[in-house]
Amino acid sequence: MSRVRVAIVGGSGYTGGELIRLLLFHPLVEITQVASGSQAGHFVHSAHPNLRKISTLRFCYPDDLTSCDVLFLCLPHGVSSGEIERYRTLAPRVIDLSGDFRLRSPELYRRWYGHEHKAPALLSEAVYGLPELHRSELSEAALVSGTGCMATTSILGLAPLYRAGIVKQSIPLVLEAKVGSSAAGAKAGPASHHPDRSGAVRSFEPTGHRHTAELIQELGQPGSELQQLVAFSATAIELVRGILVTAHVFLNERLDERAIWRIYREAYQREPFIRLVKERNGVYRYPEPKILAGSNYCDVGFELDVEQQRVVVIAALDNLMKGAAGNGVQALNCMFGWDETLGLTFPGLHPV
């Protein structure tokens, strides 16, 4: 079987680099081109030093892209929606890791992004590329959207409880994300200056964070948005890769721990990339993002306060993997009907 030909735009960035790393080892894929405006002509290892001696690929100019089977877009927010027509002429299937095509509704987009979408007609067509929730739609999809890294963590942590119909939606849902510095991309600036960023515990967008919109869309009933008030805040911490979300959910009935276990097991026991983590002993009792660096797992745990009918949900992943490029490769695997784990078997390190 000839390999599927994949090209990448924005390949000098962090999600682009991660895609290159993954696809170079993918048995059914061939990377044909990697585009970068700033690095054209350079070897990919000049931007991604881990790829030295592994690939002799060079970046091409974005304008020199030729046609391929699948095109990955790894561009800053707002860029791909402005050029999506051109990109779609290059490939029958496009996977866009940015926020541009995550929302189905132009209204939801406007409400959370503060401006009109540039290609609203495409929104209903695009698939929210989270295999755990949209696996079947992916097989036919021509335009797939990547998912927000903190949104993915939150949604994978909470979806089973929402699907089970046990969440009391009259109480606001509060989520707190802790996130590493790579989530902000490869561009240097004062906010990422090491003496200031190092050891930081930095609140950003304590209200109004755009990833909230994805939660509203994906945790709602199929076809309708969640009407529950969602309070999402994020804190940047000392970490390069990784996200941990802590969410407080109130139940509409009194359940015991085993009931919650049952709900999660039913939801996730066949999922290759979700692990339930909840131990009574040891140091790693709940999900811990550091052991996920480089892996495609999303680890999910919980703690129940029986009296308060409150579940604290704890979910973790690597923002560049299950939160971006790894999930993109998993979606690609779904789109072609392949084993979803192809190219994604690295288990993560310990200690690290």
Binding site: E257, R258, W261, R262, R265, E279, R280, G282, V283, R285
Partner: protein, 54 residues
């Protein structure tokens, strides 16, 4: 056929173990005592709460 963890209901393999032997839940790591092997059954072993240091 497997026993079920009383803590989290995970399947717990007891084949090859003896009654009274200690095993661990693959999911929640609870310490379990084998109660029955033919009709697989396990119970929570008496546990000392670990000082977790935080």
């Amino acid at each position: 056929m497997a026993a079920h963890c009383p803590e989290c209901e995970a399947d717990v393999e007891v084949q090859g173990l003896m009654v009274g032997e200690i095993t661990f839940c693959p999911d929640c790591n609870a310490e379990l005592e084998v109660i029955n092997v033919e009709q697989p059954e396990v119970a929570l072993a008496p546990e000392v709460e670990e000082d977790w240091g935080e």
